[in-house]
């Protein structure tokens, strides 16, 4: 079990995303304070932390939906200045367009002039199959369950073939059994597309189930507490000894008071 990793080197080329000293404050609340981390190309990275630790803010900053007050975000070495088709985003409350059908939502990004798919209809059919929504092509979001809505959200983000997939507590409002299934499906999709994934959650089990590496954020202000590399083969069983040990370890990390020295050694 790898306990921690050395600090990321921002110039190394296999680092897909580099977050470099990012701080962000809303009015009087310091959401992020000097957060630095790197995500490798093709890596599945989970960000965990208590509610209000700024993990969603961090993800939105990577997406380009928020500006950092200081510090910078680099994707492939280029500074992020706004949203882009290279970063697909899946939202906590789905954010589906209610006036569009399942297919209509999936095709939203393909309707942009940027789309260069040869056969968009074919691509949409593939995506509908990929997320297991065959037969619901013409359903409106109001007719779908939470799990199905999030499948549409994932397919919609995948449609434009982003290199990076950002997910903000995507399975927070679906029931436990559906969530388990969606985890497996997401891992299958990830294996197939080889995308770089950043997944925000407050659920430690979920993070250990999915991630190659877990970044633990501390709250007040949001800082990187530590990172943990999860070295278990997929599929991972929640009841296995290793799994339980990782969960316990991350729970310890979350409970540990943050300390500037430890942070510098461990992020």
């Amino acid at each position: 079990m790898a306990l921690s990793e050395p600090a990321p080197d921002p110039v190394k080329s296999d680092r897909k995303i580099v977050v470099d000293g990012v701080s962000k404050a809303y009015d009087t609340v310091q959401a992020l304070s000097e957060v630095s981390l790197a995500v490798q190309e093709g890596e599945f990275c989970c960000i965990v932390g208590p509610s209000g630790c700024g993990k969603t803010t961090l993800l939105r900053t990577i997406a380009g939906l928020e500006d950092a007050n200081s510090g910078s975000i680099l994707v492939d070495g280029d500074r992020v200045t706004g949203p882009g088709l290279d970063r697909g985003m899946v939202f906590q409350e789905y954010a589906l367009f209610p006036w569009r059908t399942v297919c209509g939502n999936i095709r939203f990004g393909l309707d942009r002039p940027a789309c260069d798919c040869v056969d968009c209809e074919q691509r949409i059919r593939e995506l509908v199959n990929l997320v297991g929504l065959s037969g619901f092509e013409d359903a409106y979001p109001k007719e779908l369950s939470g799990g199905m809505k999030q499948r549409v959200g994932i397919a919609r983000a995948l449609a434009v073939d982003p290199e990076i997939l950002l997910l903000d507590e995507p399975f927070g409002s679906v029931d436990a059994r559906t969530r388990d299934r969606l985890h497996d499906e997401l891992l299958d999709i990830w294996a197939e597309t080889q995308q770089t994934v950043v997944f925000v959650t407050h659920d430690i089990d979920e993070a250990v189930k999915l991630a190659d590496r877990i970044v633990v954020l501390d709250d007040d202000p949001g800082t990187v507490q530590s990172t943990v590399t999860v070295d278990i083969d997929h599929p991972r069983k929640r009841t296995s000894h290793e799994f339980v040990e990782y969960v316990a370890r991350i729970r310890d990390e979350l409970g540990r008071p943050s300390d500037a020295n430890q942070r510098n050694n461990n992020f």
Partner: protein
């Protein structure tokens, strides 16, 4: 209606059907009582023109469709011969429809753009605060001196009425667009403001826009009758024209004709609305 022993869905269904029937009967009874009160009131009131009775009104209503009238169609220079009631209704529609549509398009366009663009909102908000409270009919004096009190003048008054209702519906609709949806759209490649307005704000505000338009259908009927009382041709003018001849039953007939026209449009639009907003 149900005894303690009979339970189950059949009983529930019976209650539902009976409940609907009962509501239907209550409505009919209300109408019948109104007719009776009206009839007795008309019989006992003298002179008779103060309250024309339901039978006289019905006869006058029938007369609207048994006599015919020649009207001029604006712009085309055509002359139409139609049953009297329809003829005057058509005259009203000649200014009602253009005023309503133009007012709705202009009002909702300005509302959308202003609700979307903060700078424009800053510029125009005080002006709109000042202009908004002016009742559309107050513009009648300018309608008369600018256009003359004919189709154009009346259309202008209807325009003003439709404009504000649709303006506020669109403005509120755009303000209510969720930032989650605009975030989602911008991660999917929507960059320009105009694309965001078209692809997200407009469809998201569609329910409010349609409700606004439906409200303006009704409000503009009030306004159009007001404008015609000043002399523009149409059903409103016929109400006052008949009253000037003390043919009050004809006035009542035209009043019901307006009610019928409004109901038809309202029901028609509701059906359209339900289709367009099937996603809700």
């Amino acid at each position: 209606m149900s005894t303690p022993t009979d339970t189950g869905s059949d009983t529930l269904l019976d209650v539902g059907v009976d409940g609907n029937l009962r509501r239907y009967l209550r409505g009919l009874s209300g109408l019948a009582i109104f007719l009776l009160v009206w009839w007795v009131g008309a019989l006992t009131t003298q002179p008779s023109y103060l309250v024309p009775g339901p039978v006289d009104a019905a006869r006058a209503f029938a007369e609207l469709f048994t006599t015919s009238t020649r009207i001029a169609a604006p712009l085309a220079g055509l002359e139409l011969v139609l049953p009297t009631g329809l003829a005057h209704l058509t005259q009203t529609l000649f200014h009602y429809i253009p005023g309503l549509l133009l007012g709705a398009v202009c009002g909702s366009s300005l509302g959308l753009v202003m609700g979307w663009n903060g700078v424009l909102d800053d510029w125009l908000r005080p002006l709109i605060r000042v202009l908004r409270p002016i009742p559309p009919l107050a513009w009648i004096v300018f309608a008369i001196v600018w256009f003359g009190i004919h189709h154009t003048g009346a259309a202008f008054i209807v325009f003003v009425g439709a404009f504000w209702i649709n303006f506020y519906a669109a403005y509120g609709g755009v303000e209510g667009v969720s930032s989650e949806l605009t975030d989602a759209a911008s991660t999917l490649g929507v960059e320009r403001d105009l694309s965001m307005l078209k692809l997200v704000a407009l469809p998201s505000a569609a329910p409010q826009l349609l409700t606004g338009f439906r409200t303006s259908i009704g409000r503009c009927w009030m306004i159009v009758v007001g404008a015609e009382l000043f002399g523009a041709p149409g059903v409103g003018y016929e109400i006052i024209n008949a009253a000037n001849n003390l043919a009050m039953e004809t006035s009542v007939a035209y009043m019901f004709l307006i009610s019928l026209a409004f109901l038809t449009m309202d029901v028609g639009f509701r059906l359209l609305e339900r289709r367009v907003l099937a996603w809700r």
